[in-house]
């Protein structure tokens, strides 16, 4: 009994010392000379190395933006491929500094896993894809439609709820894997296919004639994806959060990768504050004042990163939708730098 108590207190002590070590993430990263970023590694458009081993993707660019802000060099990131099962452990144990792996921000994750979400970088959610020949332009016109869905997922439940709440008849056709569901939809076994909208776009590329299919505008579930950091290091969380908002602000102010040097001479006070011409905002998060300039210089603004990785400039061609700036009917709202 006594031995167990000793072992327990030892374990607590270890856990506590690990906790203390966590508080200094930025310092650790600077000393190491490299940011360690937990990424997906298997999700095209978000986190996937190319055949040469260079990581690309929307979530990957976010980590590169942090590295650019800290080191003035977007290549000072080490990417650690994580699975859905080990991602939180990797963050908790300090294996990675930031988790940027299409992770949904939910209350239970935020409150019970010892981590904090810093921002929502991508508003995802369940959507519908239909054959164009169906001549449907809204999910509300899907009454009586047969819908292909992967079984045993929340996707299946959301689907049933949505159809029931809109008093529409539903015929679900379930499959064990997304692959089978896509094949079945492609062969015409269902009128529609439902899963998270970012995935709908990538599944669309696997269809025989991608252009004969459209993704409907309705999003019926909330999947806010964003980067997470360990709980207990507020200044590091600030840095990660403001990296996202700097990219949003840059897009809103029209600052792009190509014009950022001219924008340094801008008379707009918001631009001047963002790019560090005025104010000491970089220092307040432990960086130099040109931190946001570096982000835009190397990575570009939010819209550029979106287009390049998942938007119109990529094979996925995901529409901005909810991820448009608030000024254009979306939800992405850059907080003011002042």
């Amino acid at each position: 009994m006594k031995r167990i108590a000793t072992a327990l207190s030892l374990a607590l002590l270890l856990a506590f010392s690990a906790q203390v070590a966590r508080a200094q993430t930025l310092q650790t990263v600077k000393q190491r000379g490299q940011l360690i970023c937990g990424a997906n590694g298997t999700l095209g458009g978000f986190g996937l190395p190319d055949p040469q081993g260079n990581w690309t993707g929307f979530d990957v660019d976010f980590c590169r933006a942090i590295a650019a802000a800290i080191f003035n060099d977007p290549s000072k990131v080490k990417f650690v491929p994580l699975t859905a099962g080990n991602r939180f452990t990797a963050l908790q144990s300090g294996e990675v500094d930031v988790l940027s792996r299409n992770t949904t921000w939910t209350m239970s994750r935020d409150t019970t896993l010892g981590l904090d979400f810093a921002a929502v970088t991508f508003y995802d959610g369940q959507g519908f894809m239909v054959h164009k020949s169906l001549k449907v332009s809204s999910a509300l016109e899907l009454n009586g439609a047969s819908v292909c869905v992967q079984q045993g997922t929340t996707t299946e439940l959301n689907l049933a709820d949505y159809f029931r709440s809109h008093q529409m008849a539903l015929k679900t056709v379930t499959f064990a894997t997304a692959d089978e569901a896509t094949k079945a939809y492609d062969s015409g076994r269902c009128d529609s296919y439902t899963t998270d909208s970012s995935q709908l776009y990538s599944e669309r590329l696997r269809l025989t004639n991608p252009d004969d299919n459209i993704v409907l505008p309705e999003i019926i579930s909330k999947e806010p994806l964003g980067p997470a950091v360990r709980q207990g290091d507020d200044s590091w969380e600030d840095l990660v959060r403001w990296t996202h908002h700097a990219m949003l602000d840059a897009e809103e102010l029209g600052v792009t990768k190509s014009n950022v040097d001219e924008q340094l001479k801008s008379a707009n006070p918001e631009t001047r504050r963002l790019l560090g011409v005025e104010g000491q905002f970089g220092q307040s998060i432990g960086l130099t004042n040109d931190w946001a300039y570096r982000i835009v210089k190397y990575i570009g603004n939010y819209g550029e990163s979106f287009d390049r990785n998942v938007g119109q400039g990529s094979p996925l061609k995901i529409v901005r939708g909810l991820n448009a700036l608030w000024t254009k009917g979306g939800l992405q709202y850059g907080l003011p730098v002042r």
């Binding site: 996937l48 080990n86 696997r206 990529s314």
Partner: protein, 384 residues
Amino acid sequence: MAAMADTPVLYVRTAPAEQLPPPIASTGFIGWLRANMFSSAGNTILTLAFAALIFWAVPPLVRFLFIDAVWSGPNREVCLASPAHPEPGACWAFVRVWLSYFIYGFYPIAERWRVDVFFAALALGIGWLGWLSAPRRDLGALYFFVILPVLSFILLYGFPALGLAAVPTNLWGGVLVTIVVATVGIVASLPIGILLALGRRSELPAVRWFAIGFIEFVRGVPLITVLFMASVMLPLFVPQQLEPDKLLRALIGVAMFASAYMAEVVRGGLAAVPRGQYEAARALALTYWRMMGLVVLPQALRVTLPNIVNIFIALFKDTTLVFVVGIFDFLRAIEAARGDPRWATPVTATTGYAFAALFYFIFCYGMARYARSVEVRLSRSDRR
């Protein structure tokens, strides 16, 4: 002459005999067909059914894999259906572009030569030991069991003192991981399995109970469970600083699992050795280890060889399960690559899996063929 004419004639053929049908061919192609394919009504039906099956399955497969296949190209466009190419076949261009990722995973490009050297060193070791009439096989064994593991570790994991930068195992992937896991599992399971089998037949209760407990416990749970336990529970038992590497944990799990099965197979072989052999060895005053090493095990292993190879083959394919603990083996690398939007087409996944099937088939069939040849060689003494 006249007397002959008086003799009553009993039988005279007045017309040429009717020609008999030619005998049923028992040689040549027709004869072979008759004997093997159409020897009875049941066999005829089976033959026709299989002929139909082959005719139905093979031509489309050949057309998909070879005739309609796309061998090179810059992106997904080449693998899509087009007016000139209405039925898209296998997208080998995708495999070509991603091949290095399938082989090395995330291993840094500048360091990939180390993996190549490892493959070559491993091939040398396997060749040296596997080719039964190779020179100095004693040196080969020393090389394979002592030098090669150290060399592989230094090469793959890195050794900064020698100028080889450390490459943490989370960057390993693809064929490299599959080969490492399978090789470690195979090489570790045979000796451990033999020891466990001997332990299970031991007269010392402590040894016997440990062996029985280990074997039954590990055999009683699926490999996935063993892997999960090795990767999740092992770190709980050791201090944080000593926490074993993730790949190492999986290697331990795989080796444990394979050893338990190996032990049971070897025990079967030990039981098949007649009691007289043990007694004769004892009568010659051989010690326990000499008795086992010189008399019993050579006979036991010979009869169990097919089963041992069976375990090796099963283990090689089971390595794909390491993905559940987040390790990127060959199959997982293919699954990751097929998510690349630059190559997403209706045929990408199929092509990737076809490639995986080919890879696993070559290795498993190679092992089976090799085992067969060794078996033939070992059974010469039984031939009458």
